[in-house]
């Protein structure tokens, strides 16, 4: 096989670049990188569990970051477990709750559009006698509280429903869902994956009443490698990873101090001028969404519109073209996006999220996810809008399905 370096040489560096793949990993601003640098070799380069100055300095980073997280989610009490990414925090939430429970309750309820870092650990418990029930969602990705209520029984251990969907931007009504669950049985644990909600909508764990909540640094322009699980006071959790030397009991291994320092800075940047940031993202989102919907024929918007949609999310299915080829074509044009197509997933199955909202397989294969950020400006979106229509047009010239569709339309017109 060819070496990546050779491939990159042939791909070339486009003269203009717009990164819209914040779903998969983010661009990290220089201020965040700067905040990380001292912790490699100037201060706090020690182990935060150890009693020496570099160790205490490292612990200070942990302490200050946790204070900031608590403030931004309005947590009073409870614990914040630091993991090395959101996937680990989600695994701890699901498997740790199962291990920490008395084993009488064996039903885990999740939605059909959860991130795989919820679905896969939940399914892994089936081998040990747990039952996973997946609630279908409506055409916009919403969970029906009545259906949730119906599924809850004396066997239910936990419910895990994400706050904002990572692919189609659906903002779930978590407060209502928590009330629905707790009204029936307040011993049921409610977990929410808020990885794509943090920094985009206001989160108040006290008001929402959630027991467990997941966050991830790289989704708010922090560095990769820091996840957080909020654990409400009194929720029984058992560690799923073992090994000593960490300042916390729930997740072993040395904390990634430079990354935590970067996450700390990213929190500052995200939450100062929060409302303005959100407003800007919404403006760019709508500009991109309307620009594509109005200028490219045969497209479908996936997910809800308006205030029920995450401020940064645009997800569109381009009919008669396959998503992987769109990501490559746009990459050559300096526009970086991802797709729900099977070909990009490595499991040869298209996005379960797009299928769960009732789209057909071919519509899922042609889906493209664009995520705008507060670091974009109108000119970036204008550039994207100048590249997307010709990219789709070029691939449609290659596609037999696009030709067949054109011929069918022509026939109808002639008749």
């Amino acid at each position: 096989m060819v070496k990546v370096s050779e491939f990159l040489k042939q791909h070339g560096k486009p003269s203009r670049e717009v990164y819209l793949d914040h779903e998969n990993s983010g661009w990290v601003p220089p201020e965040v990188v700067e905040a990380m640098l001292p912790y490699f070799n100037q201060r706090g380069y020690g182990h935060p569990s150890i009693t020496n100055l570099p160790g205490w300095e490292a612990y200070e980073v942990v302490e200050s970051t946790l204070e900031k997280v608590n403030k931004t989610i309005n947590a009073r009490g409870g614990e914040l477990v630091i993991t090395h990414n959101g996937t680990e925090a989600n695994n701890l939430a699901i498997i740790g709750t199962a291990l920490g429970s008395g084993r009488e309750r064996r039903k885990i309820i999740t939605s059909a559009i959860e991130h795989v870092s919820i679905l896969f650990p939940a399914r892994s418990l089936e081998e040990y006698g747990y039952r996973v029930v997946t609630i279908p969602v409506d055409k916009e990705g919403f969970v029906d509280p009545d259906m949730l209520s119906m599924l809850i029984d004396y066997e239910t251990l936990m419910v895990s429903i994400q706050m904002v969907n990572h692919e189609i931007g659906t903002i779930q009504n978590i407060k209502t869902l928590v009330e629905t669950v707790k009204d029936k049985d307040d011993r049921i644990i409610f977990h929410t994956d808020a990885v794509d909600a943090y920094g985009r909508i206001k989160i108040d764990v006290e008001e929402l009443g959630v027991d467990l909540m997941t966050l991830s640094s790289h989704k708010i322009h922090g560095p990769r490698g820091v996840g957080v699980l909020y654990v409400r006071e009194g929720v029984r959790l058992k560690p799923i990873m073992h090994g000593a030397l960490s300042t916390q009991k729930m997740w072993p291994g040395v904390e990634n101090i430079p990354a935590i320092a970067g996450f700390n800075k990213a929190i500052d940047l995200t939450f100062t001028n929060f409302d303005d940031n959100v407003k800007k993202m919404k403006m760019l989102r709508d500009m991109l969404m309307d620009g594509i919907l109005n200028n490219v024929p045969e497209v479908l918007l996936n997910g809800p519109r308006g205030d029920k949609r995450a401020p940064d999310n645009v997800n569109i299915s381009f009919l008669h073209v396959e998503g992987e080829s769109i990501t490559v074509e746009l990459s050559l044009r300096g526009v970086y996006v991802s797709s729900g197509s099977a070909c990009t997933s490595r499991v040869l199955e298209p996005s379960h999220v797009i299928l769960a909202i009732g789209r057909r397989y071919e519509e899922a294969h042609g889906s493209i996810l664009f995520k705008v950020s507060r670091y974009h400006n109108k000119e970036d979106i204008e550039y994207v809008l100048s590249q997307v229509p010709p990219a789709i047009e070029r691939l449609r010239i290659i596609s037999p399905l696009a030709r067949e569709s054109r011929e069918a339309v022509k026939k109808v017109v002639e008749v």
């Binding site: 096989m1 060819v2 990546v4 042939q10 397989y361 071919e362 010239i397 290659i398 037999p400």
Partner: protein
């Protein structure tokens, strides 16, 4: 074996993706065939112009990933000037090699291209000249079977989950 699967392409694939050779519907084709299904995310159409049992021109269309487009394009290059027997003998490994290699999870792209080609050749003998040369196997080849399986699989999934394709 490593479980990592880098999804990168050879210079040949990127080149054919950017500038596909023999692209488009051939209006005066002797025979054409399609393989794959929209629901599976890949469809290849092959057009052949045949004279005296020799392929004198070929073209393609492709709905699929970059590798799929490149595989379909290169197979039309490979068959031009070949006799039908020579074209039939092209394997998916030949196509993969001609592309300079494929990531393992993309092997089905060259299998589909060969499946489409073999389908066109079989159709030519069955429907157009209506004779069966002795080198043409009666049973479907591995590549034709794989294309068919892919097409049927999705029908089954749709039926199972109650979606009308």
């Amino acid at each position: 074996m490593s479980t990592r699967t880098p999804l990168i392409y050879t210079p040949k694939i990127l080149d054919l993706f950017r500038n596909p050779k023999n692209l488009g519907k051939m209006e005066d084709a002797t025979v054409s065939s399609q393989a794959g299904s929209p629901a599976c995310g890949d469809v290849i159409t092959i057009y052949l112009k045949i004279e005296d049992s020799r392929i004198i021109d070929a073209s393609f269309e492709s709905y699929g990933c970059a590798a799929n487009i490149a595989a379909a394009s290169i197979i039309t290059e490979m068959v031009k000037g070949k006799t039908l027997k020579e074209a039939w003998d092209i394997t998916w490994e030949d196509v993969t090699n001609e592309l300079g290699g494929l990531p393992s999870i993309k092997y089905h792209c060259s299998i589909l291209a060969v499946g489409g080609l073999k389908r066109a050749i079989r159709k030519y003998f069955q429907e157009i000249v209506k004779m069966h040369p002795d080198w043409l196997p009666k049973d479907l080849s591995k590549e034709e079977r794989q294309a068919l399986e892919e097409e049927e699989l999705i029908e089954r999934i749709y039926r199972k989950y109650g979606v009308v394709p």
